[in-house]
């Protein structure tokens, strides 16, 4: 491994060697290296194979912007080697090549297939014969894709975190501008977060000679209390919420003010062979040399549109790179070529690179004067070199600002799209705002920081300082020098000139796309897939727009940019997902159910006991002796106040205001469209107080519904949601009374406590609300009591009932039991279209009530015609249990209804169910045909409860 002598700004620790493997072979690195810097130091030039043509690709940006160094690290694909720090023992692998990076069989596409695979070739091929398309598709499919993920994996293995952070000011980008902004705001007392995607604050200062300043500024910022997040790209601006990804953590920052100091992205030039390994941006070459002590090449040619390339040439020269020539695209010598000449470097004003030679590494460069420059057409220079350094202008990193609602426009002076309009609460500083020089960037940062805290601070110094800064930034002398706008040297005879390295889109492809009619930037993007790869246009948007402008004869502003969308940098799904814990409600008895062997399943947002292993037996126990079921999941609402009765009369289609204290009534809840929303019982506790129960899954919606109408009607009613505050059990079966009597002092006799009565009493010593309700069709008591006692009361009742043979029963046996009674379950036997009439509950609707209750008008209309379909019970003799959801056929054999419930009842010794059937088939005794999984079965309609049709047991 060869390194340059110690560099002042270097990030590596030469005393700490680290070893990792690349494609299985060990690579020696130093602490502080990135994977790419270590590999480069070790002599590697090819880092990846391109998406489509499998061309060798080398380092281009060294800043995590381009797709050229995507590798897989410890199995995770898509990692940017140029920013990923090395770790001991890390397994790094190349991605898109077989058998290896050096020899990739698919590279044949590049040699031979190129002309056969223009953009979108697949749209025009493989159309006929149709039956071969799946085969072609398989081939296409398997050629696509870069990385490889495990085919199967049983659970997440990466722990990721969310962190919420509120701040006064969020600064994105810790270059000189961002640091200055953060310091200014924090020193005024603001709570500031500063996010930087690089591993260290400093931005360009770090490798452009300002590392000491960078480190001093960072220290000052920390001192002022700024929270600096490094290796932390801000991914998106979501209406003021900014997501920042840092390793295992996704920070979600909501700040009062946002300062974007995201700098600018150095742009490549488009010329033949501009993708050959060894062609790199000036920033990349400098980073390699200065941050990692790696010499980017031996003999270099530089092409630039600004001073940036000139600086780079001199800097490279200083680290021992022989710089053969600097092709400066600016027409007139900017006077700076003197600097180059002094260093013995040839300066070629008005020239550009038209071709980089070489296949797997640069071997030479061809330079020519630009069209319109003296010598163009006749002069050319061919130089042998191993490095072509380009600097094709800078494109402000505006993505997040645009996401925040800012606008951009083409700035002809600078040759790029800059910010023209800012949304409220957002400011910009530094190069992204057009303040490119270090001092200017610092000044604009400081100003943004001061402004961010303007409201907070007392007047005086900062205000004066702000004015001074504004004056300085407005100085016309600071107007940027005109930069040359690089023409496109896309002479296809010399080879492919790439616009987009992610997707292997060439200048010629853009030309073709326009020719074919995809003549807007958006259509061109979608057709050629330019800008749709991992870089999302950072390296290719500007070139694409320029090419489009040329091809369509529009100016760049008219061509415009494509939409800025999150994420700013690609991010593993795991980092977005956070912790995988989902809220699940559990009743207080949950632990006991498990110990009793219950199968637990979801029911709405609750975890519920489905059964205890023997659903039919559990149901039988309820018929023969007693059973106990946990019904804590029922929604429970307290409706209280002088208007409570009227409120309920307006909500329910039946009358509730005349209910007597201590009595209970069933009610269905309908929408104004007359559809069933929910059902439950309403008990009156006293004159002003009602206790309403809802279905388990409907509880939230009903509470929301009640409070909505309460808000709208403004009645004197209080609502209190008691769903979770109370545990509830249903003790049911012929022996329920005996068992209960032993647990309470209350008189449980049929005379004192009849069907649909409610009472308050202590049960097992606990104050409870008791309700005689019979969903399961036997004598039964619902007992509601404070949730903290759930477990102990449950145990006590089971213990007390042991002599009678009480059994706990779950949801499944309850379904059998209620089906025997033809009690409906809203949401299973009804859907969003069902009305009480269709569901066979006309008695639950009192159209003669004078209140305009919810659903009244629609129900009144519905009542005028008999429903087209009706919910009925049915029975089957041959033991077959139809699938719930099976179709009921009409006489003509077409689908006209549906089975909603079906179970085998051991008590009745037959299969029973409920189904929606056409009105003509709804009368008792009619035979209906059910189509189920290809078979036809007939069943008989039964319109009264199968069990205890007269309800004697219920009332006993």
């Amino acid at each position: 491994m060869t390194r340059l002598p110690t560099q002042a700004a270097e990030r590596i620790d030469r005393t700490r060697p680290i070893t990792f493997t690349f494609d299985g072979r060990p690579v020696a690195a130093l602490a502080g290296d990135t994977i790419a810097s270590a590999l480069y130091a070790a002599g590697r030039r090819t880092f990846s194979r391109s998406f489509k043509y499998h061309r060798p690709r080398g380092l281009q940006c060294c800043a995590g912007q381009c797709p050229n160094c995507l590798v897989a690290v410890d199995g995770a694909p898509g990692v940017r080697a140029c920013t990923e720090p090395v770790r001991e023992g890390q397994r790094v692998q190349h991605m898109n090549a077989w058998p290896g990076l050096e020899r990739d069989v698919m590279a044949a596409i590049d040699r031979f297939g190129g002309t056969f695979t223009p953009p979108g070739f697949y749209y025009h091929t493989f159309i006929r014969p149709r039956r071969l398309w799946p085969l072609y598709e398989w081939v296409l499919r398997h050629a696509a894709g870069l990385g490889r993920l495990p085919r199967v994996q049983s659970e997440r293995s990466w722990r990721t975190e969310y962190r919420r952070r509120h701040a006064d000011v969020l600064v994105v980008g810790a270059g000189i501008a961002g640091l200055s902004a953060a310091i200014a705001a924090a020193e005024l007392g603001a709570d500031v977060v500063l996010a930087e995607e690089g591993p260290e604050p400093g931005g360009r200062l770090l490798y452009e000679g300002g590392h000491e300043q960078a480190r001093a500024l960072a220290a000052r910022a920390r001192e002022a209390g700024v929270e600096i997040l490094c290796s932390a790209p801000a991914l998106g601006h979501f209406d003021g919420l900014v997501a920042i990804w840092q390793g295992d953590t996704l920070h979600q920052v909501r700040a009062r003010r946002h300062i974007y100091a995201t700098g600018a992205i150095e742009q490549p030039l488009v010329f033949a062979g501009n993708d050959v390994p060894g062609v790199m941006l000036s920033g990349a070459a400098l980073r390699l040399a200065r941050l990692y002590g790696v010499r980017p090449g031996g003999r270099a040619v530089v092409a630039t549109t600004s001073e940036r390339g000139v600086d780079a040439a001199l800097a490279l020269r200083a680290v021992g790179v022989e710089v053969l020539a600097v092709a400066d695209l600016r027409p007139a010598p900017a006077g700076e070529d003197a600097r180059l000449r002094a260093a013995g470097i040839e300066a070629l004003s008005g020239w550009t690179v038209v071709q980089a030679r070489g296949r797997t590494a640069v071997t030479g460069a061809v330079l020519e004067p630009l069209a319109g420059t003296p010598g163009s057409g006749s002069m050319r220079l061919e130089l042998d070199c191993d490095l072509v350094v380009v600097s094709g202008g800078e494109s402000p990193a505006t993505s997040l600002i645009l996401q925040a609602g800012g606008r951009s426009g083409y700035d002809p002076g600078r040759g790029h799209f800059g910010i023209t309009e800012l949304p409220p609460g957002v400011s910009v500083a530094g190069q992204v705002a057009g303040h490119g020089g270090a001092e200017e960037a610092a000044a604009s940062g400081e100003l943004a920081g001061l402004e961010a805290e303007a409201e907070a601070e007392a007047d005086g110094d900062p205000a004066t300082r702000r004015d001074a800064l504004r004056a300085r930034l407005d100085d016309p002398a600071l107007a940027p020098p005109l930069e040359a706008i690089p023409p496109v040297a896309a002479d296809s005879r010399r080879g492919r000139a790439f616009v987009c390295l992610c997707e292997d889109v060439t200048a010629k492809d853009i030309h073709r796309s326009v020719e074919e009619g995809y003549d807007s930037i958006e259509l061109c993007k979608r057709f050629t897939t330019v800008m749709m790869g991992p870089c999302q246009g950072r390296m290719c948007q500007l070139s694409s727009v320029r090419l489009m402008a040329r091809e369509t004869g529009q100016d760049l502003e008219q061509v415009g940019m494509t939409t800025a969308r999150p994420p700013w940098s690609t991010v593993p799904l795991g980092a977005l997902a956070g912790r995988p814990i989902e809220p699940g409600k559990r009743s207080s008895m949950h632990g006991r159910h498990r110990e009793l062997g219950a199968t637990v399943r979801w029911a709405g947002d609750w975890r519920r006991a489905y059964d205890y292993g023997d659903p039919e037996g559990e149901a039988l126990a309820v018929h023969r002796a007693a059973g106990l079921i946990d019904v804590s999941t029922l929604g429970k609402l307290l409706v209280r106040g002088p208007d409570a009765g009227e409120f309920l009369d307006r909500l329910y289609p039946n009358r509730l205001s005349n209910l007597k204290p201590g009595r209970i009534r069933y009610g269905v809840l309908t929408s104004d469209a007359g559809r069933i929303m929910d059902d439950g019982t309403i008990g009156r506790i006293d004159e002003q107080t009602f206790y309403v129960t809802t279905t388990s899954s409907g509880a939230g919606a009903v509470e929301q519904w009640f409070s909505w109408w309460l808000a709208d009607w403004g009645m004197d009613v209080h609502l209190s949601d008691l769903t979770q505050a109370l545990s509830a059990v249903n003790l049911a079966g012929p022996r329920a009374r005996d068992i209960l009597s032993r647990l309470t002092d209350a008189d449980c006799s049929a005379q004192a406590f009849g069907y649909l009565d409610s009472r308050q009493a202590r049960v097992c010593g606990v104050q409870s609300l008791l309700m005689r309700i019979g969903f399961v069709g036997e004598l039964g008591y619902e007992i509601h009591f404070p949730a903290a006692y759930g477990e102990d009361v449950w145990n006590a009742i089971l213990a007390a009932g042991a002599p009678e043979g009480i059994r706990p029963f779950g949801l499944e046996p309850q379904r059998i039991l209620r089906l025997e009674k033809q009690h409906i379950i809203v949401g299973q036997d009804t859907d969003s279209e069902s009305t009480p009439f269709g569901a066979g509950m006309p008695w639950a609707v009192k159209l003669d009530k004078e209140e305009n209750f919810l659903g009244k008008w629609a129900l009144a209309r519905a009542s005028e015609h008999p429903p087209e379909t009706a919910l009925v019970g049915f029975a089957l003799e041959d033991g077959y249990v139809p699938t719930e959801g099976a179709v009921v056929l009409d006489a003509g054999g077409t689908a006209a209804g549906q089975v909603t419930s079906a179970r085998r009842s051991r008590t009745l010794d037959r299969v029973i169910g409920m189904a929606w059937v056409p009105a003509g088939l709804a009368s008792a005794g009619t035979s209906i045909t059910i189509a189920d999984d290809g078979r036809r079965v007939s069943a008989e309609v039964v319109t009264e409860p199968f069990h205890d049709p007269a309800g004697e047991l219920l009332r006993s």
Partner: protein, 91 residues
């Protein structure tokens, strides 16, 4: 989470704290015609502009309130409890 809403009781919260209740419409006072009933039940103005709408602070104070929000930008111009925004409903 994207835009925030200011609950009249609790202050600023992420929109995911709230349930959306749709645009504020008027329930017919007396017996509506079939067309009126349909319009009330199903038809919405669905404006591209400022809309007065219902929100429920589901995760917080559990109050329903109204907001005037621009559906083109999601900017919330004002919020209030029912009856507080008694200015003419926005056009």
């Amino acid at each position: 989470m994207s835009f925030v809403l200011t609950c009249p009781h609790c202050g600023v919260r992420e929109v995911t704290d709230f349930a959306f209740g749709g645009e504020v419409s008027r329930r017919p006072r007396g017996e509506p015609t079939l067309r009126e009933l349909c319009e009330y039940n199903y038809f919405r103005r669905n404006v591209a502009g400022v809309q007065r709408e219902w929100w429920y602070h589901r995760s917080g104070c559990r109050a329903w309130f109204q907001a005037d929000r621009d559906t083109r930008t999601n900017e919330v111009l004002r919020v209030g409890l029912p009856g507080e925004l008694n200015l003419e409903a926005p056009q």
